[in-house]
Amino acid sequence: MSLELGKSAYSVEIKQLDLAFGAVKVLQGLDLNINEGEFLVLLGSSGCGKSTLLNCIAGLLEITDGQIWIKGQNVTWAEPSERGIGMVFQSYALYPQMTVKGNLSFGLKNAKLPKDEIEKRVARAAEILQIEPLLNRKPGALSGGQRQRVAIGRALVRDVDVFLFDEPLSNLDAKLRVDLRVELKRLHNQLQNTMIYVTHDQVEAMTLADRIAVMKGGAIMQLGTPDEIYNKPRNLYVADFIGSPSMNFLEGHFEDGRFTVDDMVMPMTGYDFAAPQTANRPAVIGIRPEHVVTGELVRNTPLRYKVDVDLVEPMGSDTLVYAKLGRHIFRIRMDGQAVVQAGETIEIGVDPSRASLFDKATEDRL
């Protein structure tokens, strides 16, 4: 693929984006490049600025400073409809007085497309989303899943380069959410459009994303593939935010390649340090509950501890065990078939190469 002159390799570029509401700075100096055909998820808890960023990209919020480029065009001052984007909202935002067909064709009529072209595009979108039998119904007569499908269709007919999703599945019930998530992934595979997807649901983020941008306080904490985000969180915030049940943290000291907490010493053999020379300092170790091994497998791990089981939560597919490791409560994820009872003492094994080590002061990964 050859690059045309002046044409960017990126689908969406956000350069030094600032957004302030009065004195409140919501986004500050934000940079983000999104590749052609990429599925990027903006992930964060509420109030982190993820939806705000999406609205800026859509042109629904006027930015304070910086630039937004889409498909090599500076669209900073462009109207939402001129940016080549389609947007899907959490509340579906279907026009209640129009039929499904009316909803799908509204944007095309505004763009003054010829009638047969509108018909063609509506038919194609309806076919892709399997909503053909619903075309003459009003949104009030549709179920939640059908409504969201129509909302996706409204973005689809516009034949745009970039799809923006603002928590599209949050209003659906749990089962439907999983179904539609799968459909969305299939849709992305089929269309190969750039998609930017805002969610607070880490499962959606992990399953859908090519890359995830974890946001906090208007800044991107980490941008990486789901694998990187999960296995090598760049700082304590990301480590704590990703994973359910969340990571176990132990505060201690890092010294000469070993991590010590109270009287336990963990040699960090096999750990992939971010910087080759790591000085001694107060540190925090993070161990995911699912990376703690029990039973026969303990023999294969370099670090072994005896723990007292405090509480057992059977969840069907697996069992969550709360155990006392010294003065700390440690979460361990075991097999659903595992037979454990409170009060028992079990042996656990930890592999330091799968743990994460953070500087206590800066909270960054070591």
Binding site: N55, A58, G59, L60, E79, P80, S81, I85, G86, M87, F89, Q90, S91, A93, L94, Y95, P96, Q97, F106, G107, N110, A111, A151, R154, R158, D166
Partner: protein
């Protein structure tokens, strides 16, 4: 068997018809209804009596002999000043004032409300506050300044001038009404329309307007009753030939010459009150729904 085990209370609890709550509730309702309906009843029966019968003084008694003469007289023969063509002249004047005032004020206020809730601009909140402040200033303080303004633009005594005054005075409360209604419309709907390439007017006419029917009904009722029943502006800003119905009614009822024709006065008053009443009965259901729709978010 099951029915052996199930003794004692079963199923819905029986309700007492003449419980204290019911007696109190319906007693209050009946008394309040009487309070409002009795004068209306007196008006109706009096308007159907002839003057000799009224002089007998039996105010609450039904007419011994029903006559429609007073109604005819009130509509087409009663004298106000030099004109002796009854209320009919005032009725048509009122219609001519009412329709343009209602249409104009609602058209402007709905666009105001839409702009103030969806297209916020710098200072729009201040603008809105100032506008709402207008609803709290007594009309009487503005009467004379408006006289001067109307005189300067040459609309004093003209129906157009009165239409203008009614439209302006309806603005604060109507704008508030529409703004609150449009604020309750989900913001994402507006955003979706913008992404779909619709501008200010297209969103207003194609998205917002069809959703705002209930609040339009509320606005129409408020304006129709308010403007139709207005007396103060009507008497000040028009001249005898263009007096609205309420002013004419006053002139008929309060005329000091000749015999007081109570039956004609009652008929005239009922005729004047008929238009808001008809509007209310025609759209009562929509009115209640509109009030609720404006109040509940979502």
């Amino acid at each position: 068997m099951a029915d052996i085990a199930m003794t004692g209370p079963r199923g819905p609890k029986p309700k007492k018809r003449f419980s204290r709550t019911n007696i109190f509730l319906y007693g209050t309702l009946i008394m309040i209804s009487m309070y409002y309906l009795l004068p209306l009843y007196v008006m109706i029966v009096t308007s159907l009596k002839g003057m000799p019968e009224i002089r007998l003084g039996n105010v609450f008694g039904p007419p011994l002999e029903i006559t429609y003469e007073p109604w005819v007289k009130a509509w087409s023969e009663a004298c106000t000043g030099v004109n002796c063509d009854g209320l009919s002249r005032g009725f048509w004047n009122s219609v001519n004032i009412l329709i343009p005032s209602v249409v104009l004020s609602i058209a402007i206020a709905s666009v105001n409300g839409y702009a103030l809730s969806n297209w916020k601009f710098k200072g729009s909140e201040v603008f809105f506050t100032i506008l709402i402040l207008g609803a709290f200033i007594p009309y009487q303080t503005m009467i004379y300044p408006i006289v001067i303004m109307l005189r300067e633009i040459g609309l004093m005594g003209d129906l157009g001038g009165l239409v203008l005054v009614h439209s302006v005075f309806g603005m604060p409360i109507l704008t508030l009404l529409f703004r609150n209604y449009f604020t309750s419309v989900p913001e994402e709907l507006f955003k979706a329309a913008r992404v779909d390439g619709a501008g200010f007017w297209r969103i207003y006419f194609q998205i917002m307007l069809p959703m705002a029917l209930p609040i339009f009904v509320v606005a129409v009722i408020l304006q129709v009753t308010g403007i139709w029943n207005d007396f103060l502006f009507g008497v000040i800003y028009t001249k005898p030939a263009t007096y609205p119905m309420t002013v004419q009614l006053n002139n008929i009822v309060n005329s000091v010459q000749g015999v007081k024709e109570y039956n004609v006065n009652m008929a005239a008053t009922l005729l004047t009150g008929l238009v808001p009443l008809v509007i209310y009965f025609l759209s009562g259901k929509l009115f209640v729904r509109g009030i609720a729709a404006g109040a509940v978010k979502g």
